[in-house]
């Protein structure tokens, strides 16, 4: 189930500690045009936190326009460049203001659409030596040609443009939108950029776009991958935004509150007594404290129980589901990946530093916890595949 539906269905359970969504919403309430970066691993619940941020800002600020955006719906995030977030805000404002009859509004809408989506321009080439006549109307150069030139939009992969003209148009349109609707704050929450593997592009986007967006008086939250914390750009990110939040996996082995939180999630979603207590504990352990894995293993265990014709989810169902889950995590691993994982499993490696180690962390084969102490472990569902005695 996607996070939006889960929240809508009442499945959201308050985290044991102050959620990163609360921290961001609280800071935005104090400084609405501030910029925030929310980092976290795959399946750690970043989208849920972003959606909760939206809810909390709406409850803290009375006259705010808050919008959640999945960037991948607007553009190919694999080839993203600076200016994209500004362009997306521009297009959204253009859509909201499309029925306006005001000349300034329509002028800015046209500029934004052209620069964001691209446009064709007819250009007349003047014969060499006759350019001084070009300004004379109705002079026509008989040897001139009309060439059609295509200008790719900022949202297209071949662009790579950072346009001041676009920033001016979006700023003006934003002011008009704000005044017309009497919004005191405008905040955009950008999801989907955590899939961006290229930290350099992500870094440019964060530095340029968030600065420009903030200068328009717009608050902004962007979701990014854990990778950003491990590369040479970490300092750049920390300096480029007002707040850097981290959505960590929960150490369900060493943190009682975290374990109780996962128990509450399962209790909230399953009918009473459907999940046997031993089975529930096993699911939580093998989730590794990763929210999506908790849900995934539970759903697969339900499939196993259904196929067995049992009316309760029991330990043997979980064991089958965890076996499949662990085997899936083995797929695509090289010999050297397995060596690294074994080093982590045996405590010879403690934190990822090489590119290969970071990749294993990003892909959820290694899990990093921040509390109660920072530590990294091999995903518990994968561990028995590497060291059978570790079960």
């Amino acid at each position: 189930m996607n996070p939006y539906k889960a929240i809508e269905s009442g499945y959201y359970v308050q985290e044991p500690y102050t959620a990163v969504s609360e921290l961001i919403a609280g800071r935005i309430a104090l400084r609405p045009a501030s910029t925030h970066l929310l980092l976290g691993g795959i399946g750690s619940g970043k989208t849920t936190q972003l959606l909760m941020t939206l809810d909390q800002i709406n409850s803290l600020l009375e006259n705010a326009y808050v919008r959640y955006i999945d960037v991948s719906i607007f553009t190919d995030t694999s080839k993203i460049s600076s200016g994209v977030l500004v362009a997306i805000i521009g297009l959204i404002l253009a859509n909201l203001m499309q029925n306006s009859e005001e000349e300034t509004v329509n002028k800015n809408i046209n500029i934004i659409k052209k620069l964001a989506n691209g446009y064709k321009e007819e250009k007349q080439t003047i014969s060499p030596g006759l350019s001084h006549l070009a300004s004379l109307t109705p002079y026509r150069d008989p040897f001139s040609q009309v060439k059609v030139e295509y200008h790719p939009g900022i949202l297209s992969p071949e662009s790579g443009q950072h346009s001041n003209k676009l920033i001016r148009a979006v700023t003006e349109l934003c002011d008009l939108f704000r005044n017309e609707n009497e919004y005191e704050q405008i905040i955009f929450l950008f999801d989907g950029l955590d899939r961006l593997d290229d930290t350099e592009s992500f870094s440019h986007l964060i530095v340029n776009d968030m600065r420009d967006i903030s200068a328009m008086g717009i608050g902004c939250v962007v979701v990014g991958s854990t990778r950003a914390l491990y590369e040479e750009y970490k300092n750049t990110f920390e300096q480029a935004v007002d707040y850097l939040g981290y959505q960590s996996c929960l150490d369900v082995e060493n943190d009682r509150d975290a374990r109780d939180f996962f128990t509450s999630i399962l209790e909230n979603r399953a009918s009473e007594n459907f999940i046997d207590s031993d089975a529930r504990e096993k699911i939580i352990t093998y989730s590794g404290g990763v929210l999506r894995d908790l849900i995934n293993i539970t759903q697969s265990s339900i499939e196993e129980s259904y196929l067995s014709g049992d009316d309760k989810l029991m330990l043997n169902h979980v064991e089958k589901a965890v076996g499949s889950f662990g085997r899936a995590k083995l797929l695509g691993l090289t010999k050297s990946d397995i060596d690294i994982l074994q080093e982590f499993a045996e405590g010879r490696l403690l934190l990822p530093s090489s590119d290969a180690e970071i990749k294993l962390l990003i892909a959820g084969r290694i899990i990093e916890y921040k509390d109660p102490a920072r530590r990294c472990v091999v995903h518990p569902a994968l561990l028995p595949m590497l060291i059978p005695t570790a079960v």
């Binding site: 795959i42 399946g43 991948s72 694999s78 899939r195 759903q299 085997r327 899936a328």
Partner: protein, 193 residues
């Protein structure tokens, strides 16, 4: 996990919460047969609109081919997908979440390894739902059929004969369990009767 079509179908039916994805591994020479078999069986079993898309030529642009009323997607023929294609699928995965049921990728062993390496976000959606398809053994063993029928009888509190009579009288509930029941009894002809 090795699985037959008959074992796979009840699993898919339990996946009611939407946007759930499975991966089926088949040998390249069995690909077309597997797709046809799965498309036909899932459509009957789930009673929903299936769209089957060969992704070999459009690559990630297959997303544009998804019809708005599709309930369940069957994506296949990934053999020429490069690492970059898989990365693009990973970036664009939100476009696959249409708020309905999810779907299935039918892949070779080498393609599923590429998926695991280059589409980690999408792979985390799939989780452990990766199955090796056994073709040509679509039917459960007699023992397995009897066990499943027993489960269905207990669940409904009805006999096989009662189910057939209800189906013939057009009074059988449209719940998918009854469809499965009729198939196990060799009376798939009565589905939708």
């Amino acid at each position: 996990m090795k699985i037959t079509v008959d074992e796979l179908l009840p699993r898919i039916r339990v996946q009611t919460e939407g946007n759930t994805w499975s991966v089926i591994i088949v040998d390249d020479q069995d690909l077309v047969n597997a797709v046809e078999e799965l498309a036909a069986s899932i459509e009957i079993f789930l009673e929903c609109k299936i769209q089957s898309i060969d992704v070999s030529s459009a690559k990630i642009q297959f997303i544009l081919e998804i019809e708005s009323d599709t309930d369940y997607l069957l994506l296949w023929n990934f053999s020429n997908w490069t690492n970059t294609d898989w990365q693009e699928l990973d970036y664009m995965r939100s476009s696959l979440d249409k708020g309905k049921r999810g779907g299935m990728l039918i892949l070779s062993q080498s393609a599923v390894e590429k998926m695991s390496s280059y589409a980690p976000n999408f792979s985390s959606w799939v989780g452990g739902r990766i199955f090796q398809m056994i073709l040509g053994a679509e039917f459960l063993t007699t023992e397995e059929s009897q066990s499943r029928l027993e489960t269905l009888r207990e669940w409904a509190g009805q006999s096989d004969m009662e189910i057939i009579e209800l189906a013939e009288a057009h009074q059988l509930s449209s719940e998918p369990e009854y469809g499965e029941w009729l198939i196990l009894l060799g009376r798939g002809d009565l589905i939708g009767h």
